[in-house]
């Protein structure tokens, strides 16, 4: 795509070329910010590690202790923050386009809660989560990540089906769609609570701890799965960026421009559900990132999905990395649950959107 825009013909005016370059610059700035935050996150923590030591460890050197810290604690944590932030932001960005609703995101529509219920069901009823005996109550090693992901996906899919049905059958307004999301969220939260009621002590502590949202939980195999799913979705989304651009001019216009709107909506919503459900399955519910990240980058790159998609993903990663840094910094050596942190950061921004009247325009 960039290759093409580099070959702009002479007839294309400089002003537009400059305009595109500015957007590319925003993307680059975001990328740098993500890398910086990641580096900061890798060097911060109770066991101090200097930049030189970090570089040494990453390139194969370092002490056994520093290797353990970097490869088993900090690097997975950063990798998770990056992929979960990107997944939630991408899902929010695409859902906002497909549903033509600026308030859409996995957590506001209840997709996350549905996924959380599915995952809790897998952990408790299907015994997919085996308690780690060494530190009971603080870590759940998910014994079969596939089952948990599948159940989370099905839970999320149930919500998505209801939302899509609402759009199709009732052509729901943005606000009624969010109200439906609130209803579905409380339904699934209630169901999760019921599950917890019938769980034994160990399972209960596992599920409660798990609903906090914790970036330190997934191991490398889960991280690989998250990256694979999210990257596949990203490729599909980028492949369709002009279709999303067309769709933001209305369904009729998009159809007349050759977009197969039904297929696009169906596949996009399915992928959004999949990537957010995977994130929820391994990390727990992380609210607001998916909603806020696309809105923040829209201010800088407009609603051109060529730039909005990658920038949203980067902004989502950045938000989670910063949230994680805050979670570590507020009450050291404790690491506060990331779900709570993003809610504290996200809710005021959400309110700001509503007060400015931009959300339901």
């Amino acid at each position: 795509m960039d290759l093409h825009s580099e070959q702009l013909h002479t007839a294309t005016p400089d002003s537009y070329r400059l305009f595109l370059r500015r957007k590319r610059l925003v993307t680059l700035v975001l990328l740098t910010a993500v890398l910086t935050a990641a580096l900061l996150s890798l060097t911060s923590g109770s066991a101090g590690l200097s930049l030189a030591e970090l570089a040494d460890t990453l390139t194969g050197g370092g002490t056994a202790q520093s290797r353990a810290i970097v490869f088993h604690v900090r690097l997975p944590r950063v990798a998770v923050a990056v992929v979960v932030g990107a997944a939630l932001a991408l899902a929010g960005c695409v859902m906002q386009n497909i549903l033509r609703n600026p308030l859409a995101s996995a957590s506001t529509l209840g997709v996350s809660q549905g996924a959380a219920f599915g995952a809790a069901l897998a952990i408790i009823a299907l015994d997919a989560g085996a308690q780690n005996a060494a530190n009971a109550g603080t870590a759940v090693t998910i014994s079969s990540p596939g089952t948990v992901t599948l159940c989370a996906f099905l839970g999320g899919l149930a919500t998505t089906a209801v939302i899509l049905g609402l759009c199709r059958l009732r052509s729901a307004s943005p606000s009624s769609m969010i109200l439906a999301g609130v209803a579905l969220s409380s339904l699934f939260s209630g169901a999760t609570t019921l599950l917890q009621y019938f769980a034994d002590d160990v399972q209960l502590s596992a599920v409660v701890y798990w609903t906090f949202g914790d970036l330190g939980r997934p191991g490398w195999s889960e991280i690989r799965l998250m990256y694979a799913v999210t990257l596949a979705a990203l490729v599909y989304f980028l492949w369709n960026c002009w279709n999303y651009n067309a769709l933001s001019s209305g369904v009729q216009t998009a159809k007349s421009l050759g977009v197969n709107v039904d297929l696009l909506s169906f596949v996009s919503m399915g992928l959004c559900t999949l990537i957010s459900a995977t994130a929820v399955a391994f990390v727990g519910i992380v609210s607001f990132v998916g909603l806020i990240a696309p809105h923040i980058v829209r201010r800088f790159v407009g609603s051109d999905y060529r730039f909005l998609l990658p920038c949203s993903a980067l902004a989502g990663s950045l938000l989670l990395l910063l949230g994680d840094l805050a979670a570590k910094a507020i009450l050291p050596p404790a690491i506060l649950p990331i779900g709570a942190i993003t809610s504290f950061l996200g809710a005021p921004l959400f309110l700001l959107l509503i007060f400015r009247g931009e959300a339901l325009k």
Binding site: W242, S249, G250, S256, L257
Partner: protein, 261 residues
């Protein structure tokens, strides 16, 4: 050449279009006239396949459009809807979107070129980087036209393109639409309510009534008889400085006076 053959459409058991057939050539601008509910908008949405006709076919240069994919169809037919939902996009990006059916991964050098020429064709090149949702109604209409031109279709369908415009913008837009037909060699089908605008800028006229074509032809088809039959209203067609002008003869009758007694 575009042939519309026996096109029918119904909502459930309620027929909207019945066996509509006509042809139009590339390079001519044809007006679809008729009162509200005559099926004008349904006709063009059936031709653009936004709605699926219950029977009948549309042929472009002899091949039926029902066999084309949406993307192939979009290279043949452009459609400008009555109400445009506007994205927060720049004018140039909005026009570039017209190249969507021709793109693979993204816009090529040719796509940028064609978009730029389309933009110049409607005289909006100075507004390239303004946002379409901040433009006036007339300017927005020009951007939509530029997008349709960039699409390089054989057939351009417009649903009441002048309905929300002021007098000057109505004339400017229609002039541009006529340009589309004559200069870019596109067959243009335009739904329009203003008979005088239609007479000024269109080459042929289709009167639609109750889902069928009541009359069609050049300016000579716009007669007081046809207007009475289609719109249910008396009118006179006069020549003013060699331009045919329709003057509606509206006699106010007072059916409501009894209510106030």
């Amino acid at each position: 050449m575009i042939q519309v053959e026996n096109l029918s459409f119904s909502y459930g058991s309620h027929p909207i279009l019945q066996n509509v057939s006509f042809t139009l050539e590339q390079g001519e601008c044809v007006a679809i006239l008729g009162n509200n509910g005559a099926g004008k908008s349904t006709l063009i949405s059936c031709i653009s396949r936004l709605r699926k006709p219950s029977s009948g076919n549309v042929l472009i240069d002899g091949s039926p459009i029902s066999q084309l994919s949406r993307n192939q169809l979009a290279r043949q037919i452009a459609y400008v809807s009555q109400k445009n939902e506007l994205a927060h996009a720049t004018v140039f990006d909005a026009v570039l979107l017209g190249r969507k059916p021709h793109m693979k991964w993204g816009p090529s050098a040719v796509d940028y070129d064609v978009a730029e020429h389309a933009l110049r064709a409607v005289g909006m090149e100075d507004c390239r980087l303004r946002y379409v949702d901040q433009l006036s109604g007339g300017e927005q209409q020009k951007v939509m036209l530029a997008r349709a031109i960039a699409q390089e279709p054989k057939l351009l369908l417009l649903d009441e393109p002048t309905s929300s415009l002021d007098l000057r913008n109505q004339y400017e837009s229609m002039e541009l639409i006529r340009h589309c037909a004559h200069d870019h060699h596109i067959a243009v089908l335009v739904v329009i309510h203003d008979l005088n605008l239609a007479l000024r800028f269109c080459d042929r006229f289709l009167f639609l009534q109750g889902g069928t074509i009541f009359a069609s032809g050049g300016a000579e088809a716009v007669t007081p008889e046809n207007i009475r039959a289609v719109y249910g209203m008396e009118a006179s067609v006069e020549q003013f400085r060699e331009v045919p002008v329709v003057i509606p003869l509206f006699h106010r009758h007072e059916p409501c006076s009894a209510m106030y007694e």
